[in-house]
């Protein structure tokens, strides 16, 4: 049973990741990305990290993908065609080559370095309370830094998107 689930989820992740990069319309690409991220959340569930999977879905699929979709809808020419000037061919082949080499190298290195048989318990769910307790005690500094990051993101993002009155373009408002 978990075998089927794992195979199906990994197939979903890989196929929709490729679709996200190769789909002609950028909107479809974003949908593909959403499915890929949902697949990753499914893998988290298989690994026993349910809360993390929910975190992944609500933050990535529920928030980041929405922002991506909205930005794609803003970043277009009036003609309705998505801005996309791909040139397949040399660059694509080079990309495949580089990516394959890197992936092989990483997989090989990790597989060689990791002991072949790890004794993992068959069933395991992350104890939720323990997660929160750790976050509040051992990771307190990380949490404070996260708070700073949050503040910086808000202020930075708002300042970036803000348009001064004189240089605002016709399409950008309303």
């Amino acid at each position: 049973m978990p075998d089927i689930a794992f195979l199906a989820l990994s197939g979903l992740v890989i196929v929709s990741a490729i679709f996200a990069l190769e789909a002609r319309e950028l909107i479809y690409g974003a949908v593909g990305l959403a499915f890929s991220l949902i697949g990753v959340a499914g893998l988290f569930i298989l690994l026993g990290a349910e809360y993390l999977a929910m975190f992944q879905i609500s933050v990535y699929v529920g928030a980041v993908v929405v922002l991506i979709l909205f930005t794609i809808m803003l970043v277009r020419r009036e003609s309705g065609r998505i801005l996309e000037e791909e040139e397949p061919g040399r660059l694509g082949r080079a990309g495949i080559l580089v990516a394959g080499l890197v992936a092989l190298a990483v997989a090989g290195a990790v597989l060689v370095l990791v002991p072949a048989s790890l004794e993992a318990p068959e069933f395991y769910r992350v104890p939720l309370r323990e997660l929160g307790r750790l976050l509040a005690s051992s990771y307190a500094i990380a949490l404070v830094i996260l708070g700073l990051l949050v503040g910086a993101t808000i202020v930075g993002g708002l300042t970036l998107v803000r348009v001064e009155r004189e240089e605002k373009t016709s399409g950008a408002t309303q």
């Binding site: 922002l67 992936a103 092989l104 990790v110």
Partner: protein, 102 residues
């Protein structure tokens, strides 16, 4: 229960796809997709290794917490940057965004 190696192979494949996108795509939003895929490949590895330790380590999960949070912030600012670049230049093709002045 899957062996750990299958998760590693999967995440390496995802990493490969992400790097392929980074190398060969020219649209800034697609580059952002690639970055997200790479981050997710790393997250899969974190969770898998945390799960396969005996006893399972919560550290891996906590790191993924912060990783997802940081990636979300990164995507937010990245998209805002793309929007500004589009507004100033009328394109989000990274080859054409080679002016350093606003």
């Amino acid at each position: 229960m899957e062996p750990l190696s299958s998760y590693i192979i999967l995440s390496s494949a995802l990493l490969g796809i992400g790097i392929y996108g980074l190398v060969s795509k020219r649209n800034a939003i697609r580059l952002l997709f690639s970055v997200e895929l790479i981050v997710n490949a790393a997250n899969i590895n974190f969770v898998a290794f945390a799960r396969y330790a005996n006893p399972p380590m919560l550290t891996g999960w906590n790191i993924v917490f912060f990783s997802i949070a940081a990636a979300a912030m990164e995507a937010t600012v990245g998209l805002a940057l793309i929007l500004v670049a589009f507004r100033l230049n009328g394109t989000i093709d990274v080859r054409k965004l080679n002016r350093l002045r606003g």
